[in-house]
């Protein structure tokens, strides 16, 4: 049996004696007889560390790690600099709790303050929170920020949004008894004419994703004008890498900007933990859920940082809180901050530009292999192809060559993704393989 209990059996006995008790069972006298476990749990015997390691090696070996990855659809394969991993693994950052005791938590508080600033810089917004669970919950929490007491409060979501994000928005809305309507897609982007006819001032908000799920770039300014005309809140879900080179949602008039920050230094990790960010305007500050760190001074007048505006939060306001959220994704936010500091603005732009360039090169080359672009829209680092070739045949062929192809959408359509991680050489190889299908 493995154990992390510190006290020896002898010390345990000493403590029991000191408390006037004979055995562990005496500690549990309040547990009703019917409930107290007689034979313990039906679990395997505990394992020594070496056995646990072997067991996990076996499990890990049963997963296929592809050397070349061309799949995105919400989880992106970007390079993670070594210094990011080295710093983020510092035990202080890993093992601390939420920084309630500010005097001995300045390191974490300052890191959050820096993260908030970086998110403001990326999005162009005025304030950002300390992070939330992921991009999808960020989107859902953003819609919840927009409910207004006396409205019908329908939430409008573009159909070009990542389907998982749509589902999470719907689920949160189910909780709040709020209606969700999808605004249809046309030519690979949000159908702006449909939006105009659907939305009115009974709506609470409109959510659109940039670049959208199909990889295409939405006309955020035009959409924003439609939304604001009926005085509805405008939420943009943005890929943080794309924010380095595309017009900021703030410039397009967004009231709230959210997104999935996994691309900023977090591994694919079979889907989590990832990192949601939320940014908004000063005006909506007090509606923002989640932790916020603010600057203040200590009794000596020294600059210091502290969790602030807690009046929004559950442990103060209980059922009147703006959300039930307690945890942020602090460690993930730290990773993203270190990533952004390591890349700098130039480096982040380079990641974005290379991803775009590789995706466009891939698309062009794939067209030579008979896979043509489905949409005629500007796109970022993802795009959809259609082809006479069978999707599964393509995937199988690529998998045999250690390549994870794009996401199969159906028998003929594939959602591809390329990033700075994909070399010309491997793209050429992929295309050759596809040609051979």
């Amino acid at each position: 049996m493995g154990t992390y209990v510190v006290n020896s059996k002898k010390e345990q006995q000493e403590l029991l004696t000191r408390c006037g008790l004979n055995s562990f069972v005496d500690l549990y006298k309040d547990i009703p007889e019917e409930v107290l476990l007689k034979d313990g749990l039906n679990l395997p015997k505990g394992l020594a560390e070496l056995e646990v390691k072997r067991k996990f090696e076996d499990l890990a070996d049963k997963n296929k790690v592809y050397k070349h990855i061309f799949r995105g659809a919400g989880a992106y394969n970007h390079y993670i600099p070594s210094v990011v991993k080295a710093i983020a693994s510092k035990e202080e950052f890993v093992t601390a709790y939420t920084p309630y005791q500010a005097e001995i938590s300045q390191g974490i508080l300052q890191a959050i303050f820096e993260f908030q600033t970086m998110i403001c810089e990326l999005t162009g917004m005025q304030i950002a929170n300390a992070s939330v669970y992921d991009g999808a919950t960020a989107a859902a929490e953003a819609t919840a920020m927009c409910y207004e007491r006396k409205k019908a409060n329908t939430v409008y979501v573009s159909a070009t949004t990542n389907p998982q994000v749509i589902e999470v928005i719907k689920t949160y809305s189910f909780g709040h008894d709020i209606k969700v309507e999808l605004v249809p897609e046309k030519n690979g982007v949000t159908d702006i004419e449909a939006l105009k006819t659907m939305i009115d001032n009974e709506a609470s908000c409109f959510y659109v994703q940039q670049p959208n799920y199909l990889g295409n770039i939405e006309d955020l300014v035009a959409l924003g004008e439609v939304v604001h005309k009926v005085k509805v809140k405008y939420i943009v879900g943005a890929n943080p890498i794309a924010l380095a080179v595309l017009q900021t949602p703030a410039q397009a008039g967004a009231d709230i900007v959210v997104g999935e920050a996994q691309p900023l230094g977090l591994p694919l990790g079979f889907g989590g933990p990832y990192l949601g960010f939320m940014a908004t305007t000063d005006k909506m500050m007090r509606k923002l859920p989640g932790r916020l760190v603010g600057q203040t001074v200590d009794v000596d007048g020294k600059r210091a940082f502290v969790l602030t505006l807690q009046a929004r939060e559950q442990h103060i306001r209980r059922e009147k809180a703006s959300s039930n959220i307690c945890s942020n994704q602090q460690w993930c936010a730290l990773v993203a901050s270190i990533y952004l500091a390591t890349m700098g603005a130039k480096g982040l732009v380079e990641v974005a530009e290379q991803s775009v360039a590789k995706a466009h090169y891939l698309a062009e080359e794939l067209s030579k292999a008979g896979l043509t672009l489905k949409y005629q829209q500007p796109y970022f680092h993802e795009f959809v192809t259609v082809s006479a070739k069978n999707t599964q045949d393509i995937m199988d062929k690529l998998a045999q060559n250690n390549i994870l192809g794009g996401l199969p959408l159906n028998e003929r359509e594939i959602l591809w993704c390329a990033t700075e991680m994909n070399t010309k050489e491997e793209i050429d190889k992929l295309v050759e393989l596809v040609k051979a299908v």
Partner: protein, 478 residues
């Protein structure tokens, strides 16, 4: 400490990416605003964060008895196995036949946690405890809805509950009925009965943590859950305090229908300075079909992902905090059948030891055997010497130990809530006990100095009012 932005120098940089090997492409709608990210060399980045880390107190730095947070030691092997390439570099949308190891791990975690909680099925999408509460309440909501029993929109929460409980209820549009605690800290059964008599048909359910937030196991638990069931409600178990009883009693056996767990408390995954946590929920078989997200099911030797037809949706992307779940799984495998119960018993024993040793100096909010944590009330000290729970907590910072939780639960005045966990030894606890008593002595002999403490931390007490009144939430260059 300078902010990283203040240390930025133009054109300082790291050399990460090779030049692009394909033609660059112009996009429309280019960014027009300057992107002000800090510019630093690798050495400068390394030093900056090293300095930040020096100003953080983690579990590895010393005693951390933060009540209700279960700050146990985070085993290094759990971190190591979760960092294996075969887990970190798999895409969540890979074909299931290429991720059999990952699915098997989730399946194992499901089986073990079901056994530990007495539930029939777990799901791992919820990202943290509060998220688990939300997800669990949605399960209750989906259940009542499926029976067209939609008038049930009230949920009972004891007044000792975490703030998350009512906040979560609000997120599923339930009204909260607060029931008082009796003088022993447990649910006031008569008050509960009165509520049920009046509101029975409107009751969606009850949310309860047991042991409760004052560290007491509610011995009436079977009666309570039965009362709720009798009026058609469901019982929700807040797993925040499971560390006290795992291996000794199971929420499922106590009559609960839904439970959430905090893997980052009970199952030793690190808190990360505030996350990522992991808050899987478990339920009895009759609720299973409503569970959110994908579930791992085993058919012969093959693990597959399925969505139940009546699933109420998704509460998060993909399959939750997978890498965190792996750490918890490694922890459970390490402890195993006997180790799980041994961990709880020692957590409870340590709390009782500290409570016993401190009770000659501090007033305990409740008498008798406590569970894994106990609450002290400093009301008398505050009254007699004007030294508050806050003052006492802040004084501890000068001794290099983390204070207990302050001012929680709300039903105890000037509360300090101590949870040593099983990963503290007698020597460390004796040291802390000595410090607590020393501080108490100072409080009585020299109350004024208590308002000044801490004296030796990198910053001293903060002006929180200023922070909230004039919020500065981001750095802006002068």
């Amino acid at each position: 400490m300078n902010l990283i932005f203040e240390q930025s120098t133009q054109n300082h940089q790291c050399s990460i990416l090779p030049p692009c090997d394909v033609p660059k492409v112009e996009l429309p709608t280019k960014r027009q605003e300057t992107l002000n990210l800090p510019e630093l060399s690798e050495n400068e980045i390394s030093r900056h964060y090293t300095q930040l880390a020096e100003n953080v107190h983690g579990v590895n730095n010393g005693f951390y008895p933060l009540g209700s947070c279960t700050m146990k030691y985070n085993p290094k092997i759990d971190e190591e196995v979760a960092s294996f390439n075969g887990f970190t570099n798999i895409h969540p949308l890979q074909d299931t036949k290429t991720v059999q190891g990952a699915l098997e791990a989730i399946s194992l975690a499901n089986d073990y946690l079901c056994e530990i909680t007495g539930m029939d099925k777990m799901t791992f999408q919820p990202a943290a405890g509060a998220h688990g509460e939300f997800s669990g309440l949605l399960l209750i909501k989906a259940y009542h809805k499926s029976r067209n029993d939609e008038k049930r929109h009230k949920i009972i929460v004891p007044d000792s509950a975490h703030g998350t409980n009512p906040a979560s209820a609000s997120m599923v549009n339930y009204d909260v009925i607060s029931v008082p605690s009796s003088s022993d800290g447990c649910v006031d059964i008569e008050a509960l009965k009165a509520v049920l008599a009046k509101e029975g048909e409107n009751i969606a359910g009850l949310m309860l943590t047991n042991p409760n937030t004052v560290g007491i196991f509610d011995k009436n638990i079977l009666e309570i859950t039965k009362l709720i069931h009798d009026v058609g409600g469901l019982c929700y178990y807040d797993g925040a305090n499971l560390n006290a009883v795992m291996g000794w009693a199971r929420p499922g056996d106590m009559g609960f229908d839904v439970v959430h767990l905090n893997l980052h408390k009970t199952f030793a995954t690190p808190h990360g300075g505030g996350g990522p946590g992991s808050g899987p929920i478990g339920c009895k078989a009759f609720l299973q079909e409503f569970l959110p997200g994908y579930q791992v099911v085993q058919k012969d030797d093959y693990f597959d992902l399925v969505r139940y037809e009546k699933s109420y949706g998704m509460v998060k992307e993909f399959y939750g905090h997978f890498l965190v779940v792996l750490k918890a799984l490694a922890y459970i495998m390490t402890l195993g059948k006997e180790g799980i119960g041994e961990a709880s018993a020692n957590a409870v024993l340590n709390a009782n030891y500290m409570k016993h040793e401190l009770s000659d100096t501090f007033n305990m909010a409740y008498d008798g055997i406590c569970m894994h944590e106990f609450v002290m009330s400093l009301e008398q000290l505050k009254h007699d010497y004007n030294v508050s729970a806050l003052d006492v907590a802040k004084a501890m910072l000068d001794y290099g130990i983390h204070p207990p939780t302050m001012y929680f639960p709300l039903i105890v005045h000037e509360a300090l809530m101590v949870e040593p966990t099983e990963t503290e030894g007698k020597a460390q606890m004796d040291e802390a006990i000595k410090i607590y008593k020393e501080i108490y002595k100072t409080a009585i002999e020299n109350p004024d100095i208590m308002h000044e403490m801490p004296l030796n931390t990198v910053v001293r007490r903060l002006d929180e009012v200023l922070a909230a009144r004039k919020p500065i939430l981001r750095y802006q260059a002068e």
